[in-house]
Structures are given as C-alpha cells and as structure tokens.
C-alpha cells in the first residue's frame, strides 16, 4: 500500500507544517457549499442502494395501478396525473429520512455548525444534492410512468417540468422536517406527519399541471405557482433547517 512517491519518514524528521490561516487561504462560503455538494454526491454514488430505493418505489407504485384499476388506457389516463404525483411525493418522502441522519450520527453536522461558515449555505448545498439524487431522477423517470399510464407523448415536457420543479419544493420543505426530527429515533412516521401538510400545495399544483399537460392544454399557470413555491422554499427552508440542526446539536 506504500505510495512510492511519499516515502515514509519518521515522525520527528517531518518538516514543520507550513502555512497559516490568513484571509487569502480561508475557504469562501461557495467553496464550502460546493465541497458539501461534492461530498454528498460522492457518498451517494458509493452507496447506490439508497439512491435506487425511492426510484424503485416510484416505479412499483405506478406500475401497480394499471393492475389494480384496469388496463384500459382511457380510464388510466384519467387518474394518471394523480397517481404520478402521489407516487412522486411518497418517493421523495422515503428518501428524506437519509438527508441528515448519517451526518448527525458521525458528527459531520457538528463540524458543519462549527466551521465558521454560514450553516444556511451548507444546508442549501445538502438539499441541492438531495434534489439532484432524488428529484431529478424522479423527473426523468416520470414520463416513462406517465406513458405507461396512457398519457400522450406530447405531455412529456409538461410532466418533466412539473415534477422537476415540484420536487425542488418537496426537497426543501422536507429538509425542514428532516432537520426537526433529527434527535428522534425512528423518526419516519413523524417526519411524514410534519412534512405532508406542508407538501399539499405542491401536490395540488403539480398534479394539476400534469393533468393539463396530459389533456394537451396550457399548464403554465400551475407550473408558475409550483415555481413560486420552489423559490419560497429556496429562500426560507435552508434558514429553518439550519436553525433546527443547531437545536438538535444541543
């Protein structure tokens, strides 16, 4: 395992450590946030099981409906938007539990809080990583599920857009719940109870946008409302989850 470029020296002969934390080599908030993002993505790729779980859940739920209701595409088309969105909401809830849990156990969150960097920015980076790992794949999978539920191919852009924007809001809302339930063992049910009421507007507007897209009508109005919710989330949710994380560390 010895690296030939770095021959082992006795500890005493090692040179004095160089450099001091002067303002020029202090990491900026952006550096820190990007590192948090990179770290979470790297970790998720090393542990793919956790990554696949919500996606598999989404795929299973949406394929079970045709079996339970009827294989008639005309009837399925009526419920497609609702099925898609309920499945997407539950799938993103499923992934939420892992958002901060591991970091809380191994002391990473503590180091984040003590880093001198604004915790809000780091929480935002963590939530962004969470969306990239669950929301975005869900948005990319949604058209497949929609097509199998009888949605016309023309509805694909609308469905992708609504799920992509909606899951941004869901990740952010969920991050508050996940941070609030950090100190609690088996927090899954409580997390769902906390998050679902807040997520209802996203469900309503998201399902509406998808439905309009499936019927070939303009889905811009609900999509814009979804985007407004996402922006509201981006502004407020990291603040709230940072505060909740601080409390959990006490």
């Amino acid at each position: 395992m010895d690296d030939p470029r770095t021959p082992a020296l006795p500890a005493a002969a090692a040179p004095a450590l160089s450099g001091a934390t002067t303002p020029h080599d202090a990491a900026s908030v952006l550096d820190a946030a990007l590192l948090v993002l990179e770290r979470d993505l790297t970790l998720a790729l090393r542990r793919r099981g956790q990554l696949v779980q919500p996606l598999a859940f989404f795929a299973i739920v949406t394929t079970l409906f045709p079996l339970a209701i009827s294989p008639e595409l005309a009837r399925l088309r009526e419920v497609a938007a609702g099925v898609l969105w309920v499945a997407a909401l539950l799938a993103s809830l499923l992934a939420l539990e892992f958002l901060f849990r591991d970091d809380a156990y191994d002391g990473t969150l503590e180091q984040y809080a003590l880093s001198g960097q604004p915790l809000t920015g780091l929480m935002f980076a963590k939530t962004a990583a969470h969306w990239l790992l669950t929301g975005l794949p869900l948005a990319l999978m949604a058209p497949l599920a929609a097509l199998s539920l009888g949605a016309p191919p023309g509805s694909v852009p609308g469905i992708v857009a609504s799920v992509a924007v909606g899951t941004v809001a869901l990740s952010l809302i969920g991050s508050i719940g996940a941070a609030l339930t950090l100190g609690i063992r088996r927090s899954g049910v409580l997390l769902a109870l906390l998050t679902l009421p807040l997520a209802l507007p996203v469900l309503i507007f998201g399902a509406r946008a998808s439905e309009l897209a499936i019927h070939g009508e303009s889905y811009l109005a609900p999509l814009e409302l979804l985007a407004a919710l996402a922006v509201l989330g981006i502004t407020l949710a990291p603040l709230a989850s940072a505060a909740a994380v601080r409390i959990s560390l006490e």
């Binding site: 395992m1 010895d2 690296d3 770095t6 082992a8 020296l9 500890a11 090692a14 040179p15 004095a16 450590l17 160089s18 450099g19 001091a20 934390t21 002067t22 080599d25 202090a26 990491a27 550096d31 820190a32 590192l35 948090v36 990179e38 770290r39 790297t42 970790l43 090393r46 542990r47 591991d102 191994d106 002391g107 990473t108 503590e110 180091q111 984040y112 809080a113 003590l114 880093s115 001198g116 960097q117 604004p118 780091l122 560390l249 006490e250």
Partner: protein, 233 residues
C-alpha cells in the same frame, strides 16, 4: 516619488514576510470563561466554572466520567448555551458573533467525524477544505507526519479507532486555528501516537495557540500545564 513608493512597499513586504506566522491569527488576550453554569434537564452539570486561557496556554480539564468534561468543551465551542456565565474571546462575548468565534477554533469529540465510505484522504479534504484551501503538498506532508500515508486511500470504515484518531490529528494540524478543543485526545492511540499528540500540543502553544484538552488520563506533555478538576455533578 513613484520609485520611493515602490521601495517602501518592498520594504514593507520584506518586514511582513519576516514576521512570525502567528502574527496573523493568534489572539491578543485569549479565552476567558467566567462563572459558567449549565443545566441539562434536571442536572446541574457545570457549577460556576471559570478560568482564563491566555495566549500559548494549555488547560487540562480532568475529572471522572460524567463530571461534565464534554459538556464544558461543547459549551465553550458554542454548541451548548450556558444558563449563566460569560465566554470572552479577546475580551468580546463570543455569543455576539458565533460564526466569527467558530472560525478560530476546532473541536474534536471522542469520535472523529469521518464518513465510513470515504477514504481517509477524502475525509480530510472535505473536512478541512470547507474552512481552508489546502494544497496537495501540505495534505501529503501532514498525512505523513501523523503516520497515515500508508493507509490514506483506505475507506474509513476499514480503519481502526486509533487510525481514525490520527486522521483527526491531521485535521487539527492542517486547520491552523488558534483554539483547539480536544475531547480525550489520546484515547485509542498507541504510545507513539500519544507522543504525537503531545508534540502537536507543544508546538501549538509554542506558537501562541490555545489548547483546552479534556481527559481523565495524563496529557503526554513534558511540562506542567494548568489543570481544572471537575467534580461529580
């Protein structure tokens, strides 16, 4: 005139580069803790703790298990809020600007905050990189110094408790912050590792740094340091 300006600038740079490196970042006065009281639920954990830790000072917090050593460290670093008492850093109350105070300290709990699926080197890069840009050379030199060069590519999950400790020591020396808060720094380390802790602490206080170490063992230092004995809460 212009020549003169340039000359004086060069002189100034020359002076600056000759200053000791601690000129930039070590505190003037240090840390002062006054009459700290902390309650955890029904338990009165810290009962009027007070001490002053000047520049280049080291305080050994001793006491049996459950006497509040960890609580004291966590209160000093601002994770726990004391019910009463004051924490002054260079004469200013730290609770007025916690982020600024946090950027002057590193706290290492009894478990090093490492990700099991990342290698030792990656763990260090993410941990330290959040606060300070570090070059590859510095990282390599530090890994070697703490004796981690041979296993720095292994995932942290495969490392022993002592090896994980050594990674924490590497973070300690890479961050270059003035205030070190160490919880049981020598636990799980072999004799050589314990000596390394002692050397790091001695170097740090020699350059004006401050160390607050909580342990019920003796600190592996060659000279006597201040000692704060905590009683059962």
């Amino acid at each position: 005139m212009r020549e003169h300006c340039r000359a004086s600038l060069i002189v100034r740079i020359a002076i600056l580069s000759q200053l000791p490196e601690n000129f930039y970042f070590m505190p003037r006065e240090g840390l002062e803790v006054e009459n700290l009281h902390l309650w955890r639920g029904e338990r009165h954990v810290l009962r009027g703790i007070g001490f002053a830790l000047p520049r280049g000072g080291c305080l050994h917090v001793a006491g049996p298990n459950g006497s509040g050593k960890t609580s004291l460290l966590r209160t000093v670093c601002g994770l726990l809020y004391p019910e009463s008492g004051r924490l002054l850093w260079d004469g200013r109350d730290v609770h007025q600007d916690l982020p600024a105070f946090h950027s002057t300290l590193i706290y290492i709990g009894h478990e090093a905050p490492l990700k099991a699926d990342l290698s030792a080197r990656e763990n260090l890069r993410y941990w330290v990189g959040m606060r300070r840009r570090i070059g590859r050379g510095t990282l390599e030199a530090t890994l070697q110094r703490v004796g981690a060069a041979a296993w720095s590519e292994r995932p942290a999950r495969t490392l022993s408790a002592g090896q994980r400790r050594r990674i924490a020591l590497a973070a300690l020396s890479l961050l270059w912050v003035p205030l070190w808060l160490l919880d049981e720094p020598t636990t799980n380390l072999d004799t050589e590792g314990q000596q390394l802790v002692g050397t790091l602490i001695e170097e740090h206080i020699a350059r004006g740094g401050l160390v607050l170490a909580a342990t019920h063992h003796e600190l592996p230092l060659r000279r006597q340091v201040q000692r704060l004995e905590l009683m059962h809460g």
